[in-house]
Symmetry: C2
């Protein structure tokens, strides 16, 4: 029996010392529980993705030093962990080290380098050449890295042909809604195809716009799911394998560590001898948890312990306030309501009720006086011109200025509250409501915002978000009688058009052919194209779809292609 632990940990990009400590801590715990082999995710030592840190020779050298130091402390257990290896001619590799007996025993280099979507691995890494076959306690193991097991017929098949009894894949696979199921289907296929156990360990945690959702798993050669770690939490998943029969015991002991990297508290989820299969989450819960983890890790890893946000009495800011409370605790969240004469009593009252429900502090800072001072100052220039978009944006930018001033004075990260539908069509004010450090729901369409709000209400005894917020027609309230849907069209239709255009790369003709209103399609797409400049200046936010407005959306601003 080979006892293997999959250590689904939350590394921090660049934190070589901290990541080393975490690896040692998990390795020690796994060893204590009987593990002989402990496996950590792709680039666990330096965090994923390190991006252009990889262009710094001293960064790569420091990461290798960290691995050397780590290896000296690994003696009576074998560890596999991801790091950046260097080779001749300045080449570097996305690598897995096999460490034990106080030294580095073996190294494997990733062969399939993804360079699409959010990935830029060909920018940095050279292609690996070695087989990835290593022996641990007499068991032949094929080690591969993330994409190596996704690309059909490549690396993993050679390893199986070379007699690997287990395939171990170390990954840093970013979350998008429903991805866990995709991964599981893939791994089941690979296990059956190779008639081999597949052990998959994924990173967990947030890194700028990406969330890694964990969900590490073990699949038997017949394609059965033997164990699956929780999503969005650190987890130590264990199994015992009988290499002779190539049978994996479903009864390996399974342990779990708390989700928060600050501090890490060890706790045991299941008794020894019990299998652990974390339940699949519903999509709303999965996405909600991704938003919480992404937001929390962005704040914590950048040194923020508290946050503030503007609440308008609308559903976007209400949802973000809930996420903030779940991520940081109510006492670390400050809501700031900045009413103008255009805000209705009803929305102001809803903002108050929301704050009360969430037990967060609410500061009311009316903007009327400041707005008047702008109008007076600009009067000589604006004389005899009708009030319009300039006056609307001035209000939004006063609010941005106030939020940033509060952050400057009291610390804390400002969360912005705009959704993906707005970001897509530019229904938002640059330097106004777009001001802040992290745009929590920038990849969440408006219709999904409602879904998540209802989900969050459904899991607390009393609804946190007042029902009136969920039923009122959304409005920017920057002039009288405004509603979003009068300007943009019904969100139900708008979001479907946006999804087809953004995630599906569909042409307007295709979208019209699918039954959408022609005028709305062309107008919407024109708005998306025109507003690239706004998105380029938006703060980062959690990616939850297959194409977020981030590294997977690289459209030129200067673009005369008219669909």
């Amino acid at each position: 029996m080979l006892k293997i632990a999959l250590a689904q940990i939350n590394s921090t990009v660049g934190d070589l010392a901290g990541n080393t400590r975490k690896i040692l801590q998990y390795a020690a715990q796994a060893q204590k529980e009987g593990a002989e082999l402990v496996v950590f995710p792709e680039l666990a030592l330096c965090g994923y993705p390190p991006e252009d840190l990889l262009l710094k020779k001293h960064f790569v050298a420091d990461n290798i030093k960290a691995l050397d130091a780590l290896s000296k402390k690994i003696n009576d257990v074998t560890v596999i962990a991801g790091f950046v290896d260097s080779g001749a001619g300045g080449k570097i590799y996305n690598a897995a080290a096999v460490v034990g007996k106080g030294k580095i025993l073996d190294i494997f280099h990733k062969k399939e380098l993804p360079n699409y979507g959010v990935f830029d691995e060909k920018r940095y890494f050279s292609l690996g050449q070695n087989s990835g076959i290593t022996m641990v306690k007499g068991v032949k193991i094929g080690i591969n890295i993330c994409e190596d097991i996704w690309i059909n017929g490549a690396v993993y098949q050679e390893q199986a042909r070379a007699g690997a009894q287990i395939l171990i894949n170390i990954s840093s696979s970013p979350y998008q809604a429903g991805k866990l199921k995709l991964r599981q289907e893939l791994l089941v296929g690979r296990a059956k195809e190779t008639k081999t156990h597949v052990m998959y360990v994924n990173t967990v945690g947030g890194q700028d716009e990406l969330v890694f959702d964990g969900g590490s798993m073990i699949i038997s050669p017949s394609g059965d799911l033997i164990a699956r770690a929780r999503q969005f939490e650190e987890h130590l998943l264990m199994a015992a394998l009988n290499p002779d029969t190539r049978r994996c015991s479903p009864k390996g002991p399974v342990f779990s560590l708390s989700q928060s990297p600050f501090p890490t508290v060890l706790r045991q989820a299941q008794g020894p001898g019990e299998s652990f299969i974390a339940p699949l989450l519903d999509e709303a819960e999965e996405v909600y948890k991704a938003l919480v983890l992404g937001t929390r890790d962005y704040a914590f890893k950048n040194g923020f312990k508290k946050v503030a946000l503007g609440v308008s009495g609308g559903v976007d800011s209400a949802l973000v306030a809930c996420i903030a409370c779940d991520a940081f605790g109510s006492r670390n969240v400050t809501a700031i309501s900045m009413p103008s004469p255009f805000n209705s009593k009803a929305t102001r009252q809803d903002a108050r009720q929301l704050a009360k429900n969430l037990k967060i502090e609410l500061k009311e800072i009316p903007i009327k006086r400041i707005f008047s001072s702008y109008l007076k100052t600009m009067a000589p220039y604006f004389a005899n011109m009708p009030s319009g978009i300039a006056e609307e944006n001035i209000q939004a930018r006063i609010r941005g200025n106030i939020l940033m001033a509060m952050a400057n004075k009291f610390g804390g990260l400002i969360l912005t509250t705009g959704n993906k539908s707005e970001m897509a069509v530019g229904y938002c004010t640059l330097y106004g409501d777009m001001s802040g450090g992290y745009a929590v729901i920038k990849d969440v369409f408006k219709t999904k915002v409602y879904e998540l709000a209802r989900f969050r209400n459904s899991i607390s005894r009393e609804p946190l978000i007042p029902e009136s917020i969920l039923f009122r027609a959304p409005s920017a309230e920057l002039k009288l009688g405004q509603t979003d849907e009068e300007t943009l069209g019904p969100y139900e239709d708008l979001d479907k058009i946006l999804m087809a255009y953004i995630e599906g790369h569909a042409s307007p003709q295709d979208i019209v052919a699918s039954g959408k209103d022609e005028k709305l399609v062309w107008r919407t797409i024109r708005l998306v194209d025109m507003n690239e400049y706004k998105r380029r200046q938006a703060p980062p936010g959690v990616k939850i779809t297959s194409c977020a407005f981030g590294k997977d959306w690289r459209l030129p601003i200067t673009n005369r292609y008219r669909e």
Copy 2:
């Protein structure tokens, strides 16, 4: 004799119809002047770089349709032009089409795909397989595309071995200071190495952060420069080649078209029989022209004909005002001075003098009243706290709000005026002085700002920028008695440290070892690392160095690597 014209044109990304018209116009003009072969730059048909437009199947299809339509109109001359080709399995290629006799005669696919710096070509393109050898009027030509001739010993050598009498390289090579010389050295080497004529045609024009500087050239097999087109202007460069002697006549007729794409006016620079070698520019002039072209093209290609900017009486805004006047003409530039009680009489006076010298409209919009209204509104929250960064940033953000309001009311693009030294260390206010559509000098270090200001003064009869601006210690003037260099250290030292860290990827230890003040080095680098979040939300601006804060700088925001 084969008469060849290199058409150094300014395409616009996505403007298939406009680019087609331009290609036909240049082809007709070249033919009129006797050319038998007319060569256009890399991806001339769709503009470079099209980025994720390439993920849209209908975009690629439309570009192929445009090529088909174009080819029907090319009859009595041969044209080589860059376009996106499609192949089996959804593959696409960065391609050159040989067009003539009303059809597409041949197609070559780029083999070396750059995926570093600002380039992401492996994200989109598949590798080409064919040789790139084509016959035109009995002359054997090797066609290669940009990187194909940069990579040592690859594509171009095979073509020479296959008997190519001329190597034609079509490029879209982005500008950085001094790059023309690099290119020329490379091409001279390739010509000598292959004993072949090398004809190099480069794109000209701005595209978001990139400027293509043209400088197309013809090198003889002995490594002599036969002709060179001007930088930063459209140009039609011609030469006649005798394929028997492999000798290229230096006396081909040479033509030039006006620099502005709006509208294109043909004019003849040189008489027939004269050679044309554009002079090499001094670095200051070269960089200055890059800034003018990049700014003008960003505005024009995005539909702006006029611009506005805040002028403070400092050197940064003074330089940007000069660039704006050279790009758009004085009557299309509005300067807005937004003095606070912290602005000295001297800087206010300098702002006025600058506007007078440049013959631009100056609007003075004092921010005192608005600032007071913020302080009154915030008083309940800020009570008993010392005045500090919050109050400084409020002022900068009031100015940002006013500028954007003016743009909303009167149209026009807002130019921001921050330099690279500030952007690097975060000595700028997000949503404040960073507000605007285009950040003209964001890749220009402060010491270089002075150099460019002096250069611009040197070429006009009377200095445009008042000398007092050049001699005053720079200050943000957001509180009393502030100077930049007290906060940041001397710019001379700061800029050298920044250059080593940013462009050289040097470690702090290396920079200290090179003789810089240790404390200043560590503090500066810490500031650069800390301020990634600000840069991420900055507007685009012209790249003039080997590593601008744009596509060639992809550092994570969340980054605990402490140098």
